[in-house]
Amino acid sequence: MNTRAILAIVRKDLKVAVQNKGVLLPMIILPLILFVAMPWLMAYGPDLAKATNTSFSNMDEMLGHMPVGLLHELSGYTHDQQLIVFILMYMLAPMFLIMPLMVSSILAADSFAGEKERKTLEALLYTPTTDRELFTAKLLGSWVAAIAVALLSFIIYAVMVNAAAWHSVGRIFFPNWMWIALVFWVTPAVAGLGLVVMVFVSVRAQGFQDAYQTGGLVVLPVLALMIGQISGVMYFSLGVVLIVGLVIWLIDVVLLWFASKSFRRGELMTKF
């Protein structure tokens, strides 16, 4: 493997991608909403409810339907603290996965379908890089960037959650082991899923927007996890997170195998 060539393609793709507003804006706006605004809103939710005499009974009711394991994990907190910890620690956990999924999808869409749209792939195909190096480089840039952005988002979220909830919880409670597994075990897998799906989508897509819109369907499993948790069917325990991560890794391996089989210069030249 020619690492110099791989890094050159990664550098090229990232340099090109960050100058596309369609790529950059969602990567800035979504974390600001999810990981900066949301913790403060949720942490002060119970106080706001009291101040405005709004009932929080729906949340209480939802909490009442949660699995025993979750209730046990929340048992050390007061009622108000339970609500805050439940929302910030558990309810938003699946949402966190949208971040690596979205970033890898956007970058892969720009790297594959965007390159097709800009008609810049041909020059790359005439370089001495092998098909495998090209495939690795194309995936690596999007994957590493997605993980980096997710990691940064996690750090920001951790700071925001503890700061926002300090008035109520009074100590650093975030992250727990489930979140550590989520960030370091599930996040890379989810980022991989986003970009491998986008490789397939990009073959048929006409351009970046087309690929991104079609590939957006990949967030559906994450939404299913969120609904599953809100409805009390399951909750993000450490065990669940480890299993979810394992399943996604296995899906990644299978999809990656198929994608690498179809990633041939000749195919790219005729389809792109």
Binding site: A5, A123, P128, R265
Partner: protein, 314 residues
């Protein structure tokens, strides 16, 4: 010129029912500027792709620099440079970034990258705007940058696909000079795909003419004109006082003179049935007492060859 650098044997590439390249057989010698002519869709670009191992043939094969493009494509592409039909440039990168990245891809020694990039930027008159994004460049500048990129690693074989299509005459001449220098001074073999026949005539040692993926003619421009252009245009100048006598004489020689002569300011342009008609016409004119000052054949060019080969299309 010595051994063949490109050897193509029965190369065929089919897309569905259509043969983009159909049983192509030809050799290109080292240091040669080889013209590959044909209409759009004649199979020129597909051939370049096949010869660089970025497209797989349906049947047949090729050797470029002694390497098989299909099995040794990576090693081969390290020694060839390709200017694609569209510049294929990332418009969000600067020219300097673009060249630096491709220098890494072509494995230019790290210590040489900056020097090589700067020298190419200067040679192609892009140094002043090297740190601007390519999106703001004119078509000609983009074409020059794409050509600079193809030369980054000093390729032994250079494939040029319509290199002057987007260039103004000055820039086109610059490219012609560069191509000639590369071939004549540095021994680089140039495979020039073009439908600019004047360009091919000017630059190429030999040309191949393609039609619907098939090779229909191959040879030096001079050979091809002799072979395919049967008629000959000549300029005829006689004593001005005898000018009135000439036309009736020419009209009486339909076996030698085709069509009506065209009257220029002080001479006539006429089309003869062939090269052998020149001495016969001269003999007749002298025999009739005309004082012939000039009977000058016009050299046939590739354009006439091309139109002779594609006569049905005309």
């Amino acid at each position: 010129m010595s051994s063949p650098v490109i050897q193509i044997s029965s190369l065929t590439r089919r897309f569905g029912e259509k043969n983009a390249v159909d049983n192509l057989i030809l050799d290109v010698q080292a240091g040669e500027i080889f013209g590959f002519l044909g209409h759009n869709g004649a199979g020129k670009t597909t051939t370049v792709r096949l010869l660089n191992g970025v497209l797989e043939p349906t049947s047949g094969g090729a050797q470029v620099l002694g390497l098989d493009p299909q099995t040794e494509g990576s090693a081969l592409r390290a020694r060839t440079g390709v200017l694609t039909e569209t510049p294929s440039l990332d418009e969000r990168l600067t020219a300097r970034d673009s060249l630096s990245i491709y220098a890494d891809l072509y494995n230019v020694p790290r210590a040489d990258v900056a020097v090589r990039v700067n020298s190419l930027l200067a040679e192609f008159e892009l140094a002043d705007r090297a740190d601007e994004k390519v999106g703001g460049y004119s078509k000609g500048m983009k074409q020059r940058l794409a050509l600079a990129r193809a030369l980054l690693h000093k390729p032994e074989v250079l494939f040029l696909d319509e290199p002057t299509a987007a260039l103004d005459p000055v820039a086109a001449r610059h490219v012609h000079t560069l191509v000639e220098n590369l071939a004549r001074r540095e021994g680089c073999t140039v495979f020039l795909c073009t439908h600019n026949l004047v360009e091919a005539q000017k630059l190429c040692d030999r040309v191949a003419v393609m039609e619907h993926g098939r090779l229909v003619a191959l040879g030096t421009p001079a050979d091809l004109t002799r072979q395919y252009v049967k008629r000959l245009d000549v300029d005829l100048e006689v004593d001005p006082v005898q000018m009135e006598l000439v036309l009736p004489i020419l009209q009486g020689l339909p076996q030698l003179v085709i069509g009506s002569p065209k009257q220029e300011k002080d001479f006539l342009t006429l089309t003869l049935s062939g090269r052998e008609a020149v001495p016969e016409l001269l003999a007749v004119l002298v025999q009739k007492g005309l004082r012939v000052y000039r009977l000058a054949p016009q050299e046939a060019n590739l354009e006439e060859v091309y139109f002779a080969l594609h006569g049905d299309a005309q």
